[in-house]
């Protein structure tokens, strides 16, 4: 029986609590009475994953079995989530590769010759061959790379097709190959409730023209939260697009869910509850903390980016997108949902070394903002964990480091745009178009491994709801100049941060801390 998540109330017997702080850690003694939201323990994995995949393909939800959709001479496209999922990346074999192998076995048996595999990387950077091989596995990679296994190119005029407009005037433009296939099979890993469903194809295989319909400040301000699809304007938009797309191409969705076993040895201590740390756990954490405190940041990054999580698969569902996603979300909630009573004045979170957009890369300050004010702030259903006008305190060093190859437009966004203003709406109106259509950024996106020119804007929009909602944001241990550029404040210690926050929320605030990772979704009542 898996232990559910719970809300701890800090008392005098509570040991210091561990928070991530970039490529390091901090132990913090929270004030007595603070509440800490702990995720459930990892769910047990499926004993027979291959059997579960076969069952999903042969007994899909609200769809004919895969075999009935396959025939000789057809065009089959298999699209799959890119390296932004899961976090940390999954230890081989990646579940996407295993599912794709099963789909290909069926396709081969049915005599399907025309098969293409596309990484649904949207405006993310192109995955390297090595990264793709890790996801799809050696057998698939050798069979299809590079001619029939490739990254999606959202700036290839020949490779895109305009499908039309939804009833809300949202443009739908996606990969031509996918849209003109007889069958599009989409394979995902549903790490959080935001992922999957109709967000997979209309986002993962779309163009900037299509994405701008919902990746904008207005939509994000009306997605409360985007981790709760029924309350999310982003998801409503994706659903309209998905329905429109469904009229043009048959989509067979395969969604998978993983448990929260996020850290392999010797990092398991990072997801244990502190009061249960054995002497060995304490020694490990001490060694980790000391080592990371002394290493150059590049070495720390290299060390942590090598982590491959020993996830276990908790669910595989296939069939029509909506029916599958309903089951998928139930699995995600089973692993992540924790009930929390009432909002806090202050929300505390540690920002880890990794987010969706810096796998094998650098978490630059804009990505830190996206991770904290975007993802962590939005890990709620119902109401935000912190009240309107409250304060969010985060632990992160806020290095002014950027990956030159992966995030070129981020550098200019940070140096030029944020130097001018931090208001998402102003930024959107004044700068987005320019960055999105800049030929150099487009070139780097298409031929190098750069995120699209517009991507840093989306990261900023992702945090727009939090920026609007919060009265103040304080980074503990952050670089002051960087924080100032981002429009936030800095403190040396948590005590100082609480002191700063007291100017906004008063001297005896209610404090809630989010223990994440592993991921936790708060149901706030």
């Amino acid at each position: 029986m898996t232990r559910p998540g719970f809300v701890l109330e800090v008392d005098r017997r509570t040991p210091p609590l561990l928070f991530h702080a970039g490529e390091g850690f901090t132990l913090q003694q929270l004030p007595e009475g603070s509440r800490v939201v702990y995720p459930p323990d990892p769910l047990p994995g499926l004993a027979d994953v291959d059997g579960a995949i076969e069952r999903a393909l042969s007994e899909p939800c609200d769809s004919e079995p895969l075999d009935a959709l396959l025939r000789p001479g057809m065009r089959l496209t298999i699209a799959f989530d890119d390296l932004s999922l899961p976090l940390p990346p999954m230890r081989a074999p990646d579940i996407r590769g295993r599912v794709i192998e099963h789909v290909l076995e069926h396709a081969a048996a049915a005599g399907v010759d025309d098969v293409e595999l596309i990484v649904a990387n949207s405006l993310h950077r192109r995955m390297t061959a090595h990264e793709i091989r890790h996801v799809v596995g050696e057998r698939v990679f050798r069979s299809f790379w590079p001619d029939h296994l490739r990254n999606h190119d959202a700036e290839d005029p020949e490779g895109l097709v305009y499908i039309g407009r939804t009833e809300h005037n949202e443009d739908v433009e996606v990969s031509r190959r996918a849209a003109e296939s007889d069958l599009l099979v989409y394979v995902n890993i549903n790490l959080v409730a935001m992922d999957g469903g109709h967000k997979s194809v209309p986002v993962g295989l779309a163009s900037y023209r299509s994405l701008r319909s919902h990746h904008n400040v207005h939509t994000m301000m009306h997605s409360r939260s985007y981790m709760d699809p029924p309350s999310s304007a982003l998801h409503a938009s994706c659903e309209r697009m998905g329905r429109l797309l469904g009229g043009h191409v048959r989509i067979f969705t395969i969604e998978t869910t993983l448990n929260s076993r996020s850290f392999p040895a010797p990092y398991e201590v990072l997801q244990r509850r502190e009061w249960e740390w054995s002497a060995r756990d304490q020694a490990t954490l001490l060694a980790l903390k000391q080592a990371t405190g002394r290493m150059p940041v590049e070495l720390k990054r290299a060390l942590f980016q090598r982590i491959r999580a020993p996830y276990e698969v908790t669910g595989i569902n296939a069939g029509s997108t909506a029916a599958v996603h309903e089951r998928t979300l139930a699995n995600v909630h089973r692993q992540q949902l924790v009930e929390v009573e009432g909002q806090a004045d202050i929300l505390i979170a540690g920002i880890p070394y990794l987010g969706p957009y810096n796998v094998n890369s650098v978490m630059n300050p804009i990505l830190v903002v996206c991770q904290g004010l975007g993802y962590f702030f939005n890990m709620y259903r119902g109401k935000p964990l912190v009240r309107r006008g409250g304060v969010m305190i985060m632990f992160h060093p806020l290095y002014r480091h950027f990956h030159q190859v992966h995030h070129p437009s981020y550098i200019d966004f940070f140096e030029e745009v944020l130097a001018e203003t931090t208001d998402p709406a102003v930024i959107e109106g004044k700068y987005e178009e320019q960055f999105a259509t800049d030929p150099w950024y487009v070139h780097l996106y298409r031929t190098s491994h750069a995120y699209h020119g517009v991507h840093p804007f989306y990261m900023w929009y992702w945090a727009a709801h939090a920026m609007d909602h919060l009265g103040d944001v304080v980074f503990v241990g952050g670089d002051r100049a960087t924080a100032a550029r981002l429009g936030f404040r800095c403190a040396s210690t948590l005590e100082d941060a609480l002191e700063i926050a007291s100017g906004t929320v008063g001297g005896s605030p209610r404090i809630t801390a989010l223990k994440c990772p592993p991921l936790v979704l708060a149901e706030v009542r």
Binding site: R13, R273, W275, L286, Q290
Partner: protein, 296 residues
């Protein structure tokens, strides 16, 4: 970042050399069998009887001037019972145990704070052997309630200090309903047990009784049986009220205490609200002259 600083944080936070930390409301690790069962078997009982009779009893006689009253109530009740006592000193448990007739003492187990008395192997061994102590979780849900229940069902009398900790100022603290809950659940009687003067004799922080054989008094009250209408909370109120009357009786006379109880004027054993030093001052008066803050 410094190693010494981290070591200090971890040593303090994880209580190196002591019981591991466990916040309130967090489950204790599940034990497969009744802990310290050996302490309730015959060899350990024999050792305990010898230590209490030949060690603690003479020692207490030498160090404090103890008066024990009300032992006769035990003639009117069948074991097992719950002795529920106020708690101000480490003298309390040995005083009660040595005051009990041997046939009761030999079948009595003492609830002891798991996070203190069972925090290190040596302390746990001594607690279990000498006092027949069993771990009681003071702060969270745990199996301690189940263990108490099992001990009662096995015929063991339990000595429970429902305040959960020694009084910091000599006055009675909150009475937690754990003992009342056990009594209601099992239908077993509660013998209210009032201890007076032990704070003055050996308060928190003292390792030995004060010089001059300070007076301490112990009184067993009339057994209380949970009635059909009682729940844990209402029965807990009855227990607290009984302790209050007994304490009143300790510091005056049985009759005066009865009269005040009849008028609903029994002094609150929690004492009057005042600065801590004044409460300590009052609780450590050389003799109770009925004056001071405790106005009658």
């Amino acid at each position: 970042m410094g190693l010494r600083r981290d070591l200090r944080i971890m040593a303090r936070g994880w209580r190196w050399g002591d019981a591991p930390p466990r916040p309130v409301g967090v489950d204790a690790p599940q034990a497969g069998r009744k802990p310290y069962g050996w302490a309730r078997r015959r060899p350990a009982s024999a050792v305990r009887a010898a230590v209490l009779a030949l060690g603690f009893a003479p020692l207490l006689r030498a160090e404090v001037s103890a008066t024990v009253d009300g032992v006769e109530v035990l003639e009117r009740v069948e074991p097992p019972v719950l002795f529920v006592a106020n708690h101000a000193s480490h003298l309390d448990a040995p005083l009660v145990l040595t005051a009990l007739p041997p046939r009761w003492r030999d079948r009595t187990a003492v609830g002891a704070a798991a996070d203190y008395f069972f925090s290190s192997p040596a302390r746990a061994l001594a607690t279990a052997l000498v006092f027949n102590g069993f771990p009681v979780e003071r702060f969270g849900r745990s199996q301690a309630g189940r263990l108490s229940l099992e001990l009662l069902e096995d015929g063991w009398n339990l000595l429970i200090f429902p305040e959960g900790t020694r009084s910091p100022d000599g006055w009675m603290g909150d009475v937690h309903p754990g003992a009342a809950h056990l009594a209601v659940a099992t239908g077993r009687p509660v013998v209210p047990t009032a201890l007076w003067g032990t704070y003055r004799a050996m308060p928190r922080g003292a390792a030995w009784p004060a010089p001059g054989r300070p007076p301490v008094r112990l009184r067993f009250g009339e057994p209380l049986l949970p009635e059909a209408a009682d729940n844990s909370r209402s029965f807990n109120r009855r227990i607290r009220a009984a302790l209050a009357v007994l304490l009143d009786e300790q510091s005056s006379t049985w009759w005066e205490a009865r009269l005040r109880a009849g008028r609903g004027e029994t002094p609150d054993p929690a004492g009057p609200p005042a600065a801590r030093w004044r409460r300590v001052w009052e609780a450590t008066r050389a003799d109770d002259d009925g004056g001071g803050m405790w106005a009658r």
